[in-house]
């Protein structure tokens, strides 16, 4: 094994871990400020200038709270649940290409932890496993509200995974590769969203549902289920659940930027080269991720929550047929262009 490669990848992994956690922490601050702005309030402004230290204060609070495990709970599963939720939220970022190669110390450093040739399937694999954290935690709490939350979360995630997968397949058809690196490289001139606006729309709605974000936040809907699957959780275990939601929001924004908005590509790329290009590309990617996060938060503070039967109706009877028709049309167009008729 190449030692330099090992060191390089380890540094990248640690850096990614810190960036995802830091981004998630500051997303909580950003969300509160944004909510305040939309609702014409001030928002957190006490901790530090403009309340910039608020996430740290929140984190310290979470750690110092009493960690309580209910008497009738399944102790081990109760502990494993939040950890699993955080774990699955973090590992998706391993296949995300953050930018073109950097040249440092006479080496080409790829800004991607693992360039596996089935990158997009890996993302869906992690996504389908992601439901376990919520399910196990909700069930282990031994509380009817938690169980309802867990059941809602799992049925919602299974239902929306289908339409999401089908709309991602159209992108795979377009680019002819399952590797996220190739998909990004092929969008250097025209972004996929130009060819596939419908697929993007479906993917985006499904991503909101998979993230359990409003208007699809039924698993933790406080007006019916107290706190949903994390009713019984306290201290940093609750913190991990809340945090994992923000981390997945960050990663799924990155995935959406990669699949539909050209990843790290930006207009006028050909004027730059080398390390300048790499740094500018990372910047462009970060801006895209930020915009997605902004839109997701904006939606949360604008649209009221769905009812559960409406949610299922939308998933199975609207989004899935639409995505299938979209896939069929894309396939036909590609076959026609290749001269198969």
């Amino acid at each position: 094994m190449d030692t330099a490669l090992l060191i390089e990848k380890s540094i990248l992994v640690v850096l990614l871990f810190l960036v995802s956690l830091g981004a998630a922490a500051y997303m909580t601050y950003f969300e509160r400020k944004l909510a305040a702005w939309i609702q014409d309030r001030v928002g957190p402004d006490r901790a530090g200038p403009f309340g910039i230290l608020q996430p740290i204060a929140d984190g310290v609070k979470m750690f110092l709270k009493e960690d309580f495990i209910p008497a009738k709970a399944d102790k081990w599963l109760f502990i494993i649940g939040p950890g699993l939720a955080m774990f699955t939220a973090l590992i998706t970022s391993a296949v995300v290409p953050w930018g073109p190669k950097l040249h440092l110390f006479g080496r080409d450093i790829a800004l991607q932890v693992a360039d596996i040739n089935i990158g997009i399937l890996y993302v869906f694999g992690v996504l389908s496993v992601g439901v376990y954290g919520i399910m196990i935690g909700g069930w282990a709490s031994n509380n009817k509200y938690s169980l309802y939350g867990a059941i809602r979360a799992s049925s919602q995630m299974i239902s929306y995974e289908l339409a999401m997968g089908v709309s991602a397949i159209t992108i795979v058809l377009l680019s002819g590769s399952l590797s996220l690196n190739d998909i990004v490289a092929q969008q250097s001139s025209v972004w996929n969203v130009v060819y596939q606006p419908l697929a993007f729309l479906i993917f985006f709605v499904c991503a909101l549902a998979e993230l359990n974000r409003a208007p699809f936040d039924l698993p933790e809907c406080e007006s019916e289920l107290v706190g949903g699957y994390h009713t019984e959780y306290s201290s940093m275990k609750l913190g991990l659940y809340l945090f994992s939601e923000y981390t997945s929001m960050f990663v799924s924004s990155a995935i959406m930027a990669i699949l539909f908005f050209g990843g790290y590509n930006f207009p006028g790329m050909s004027y730059f080269s080398g390390n300048t290009l790499a740094i500018l590309s990372i910047g462009a990617f970060a801006v895209k991720i930020f915009l997605f996060i902004f839109v997701i938060m904006w939606i949360r503070w604008t649209i009221p929550r769905f009812r559960f039967d409406q949610l299922m109706h939308l998933g199975w009877k609207t989004l899935l047929p639409l995505s299938l028709i979209n896939l069929l049309i894309t396939g036909l167009v590609i076959a026609f262009k290749n001269g198969w008729f």
Partner: protein, 170 residues
């Protein structure tokens, strides 16, 4: 050599978790051990450079199917009081059924070790998407299509069973 050590460790872990599935008294824990077993099998596929199979195993088995298992078990709320009593006859029939399954598996799989080795030497890339797709859509296309028809038949049947006789709520 280190590869062999890793596969021995993975193999024994797989066996251990598979045993725990059967031996665990608690149904939900059994399902969770089964999920872990599927993950270990996924890692075996990765060791064999079959990335596509590995990830599909993870999505379909560890992801979709086991989530449904867990879903049903959580709703059933099984506990000690309503656990069915194992009679002697039940144990005896289970022993015979399990024993004959073991026998069939051993006879079916006794040559695969040698076969698999020769197959892998022929083509290292066999587990990657491109190779697999080519094989599925050329050499095995008939079998592939027939399987998909079977799946559709099963799906239609399931929908028919689940559909209510009269739609009251619209």
């Amino acid at each position: 050599m280190s590869l062999q050590i890793i596969s021995i460790i993975l193999g024994s872990l797989t066996l251990a978790t598979a045993l725990l599935v059967v031996l665990s008294k608690h149904p939900v824990r059994s399902v969770i051990y089964l999920v872990v077993t599927f993950f270990l099998i996924t890692s075996m596929y990765i060791m064999m450079n079959a990335q596509f199979l590995a990830i599909v195993n993870m999505i379909v088995y560890a992801g979709a199917i086991m989530v449904l298992f867990l879903f049903v078990l959580m709703l059933l709320n099984l506990n000690k009081e309503i656990e069915p009593v194992n009679t002697r006859t039940a144990q005896f029939t289970a022993l015979i059924a399990g024993g004959s399954l073991l026998l069939i598996l051993i006879t079916a799989l006794k040559d695969t070790l040698i076969l698999g080795e020769s197959f892998r030497q022929k083509n290292e890339q066999i587990g990657l998407v491109k190779e697999l797709g080519n094989l599925l859509f050329t050499k095995y296309v008939v079998a592939f299509e027939i399987t998909s028809i079977l799946f559709i038949a099963a799906m239609v049947g399931a929908i028919l069973l689940a559909k209510r006789e009269k739609q009251i709520i619209e």
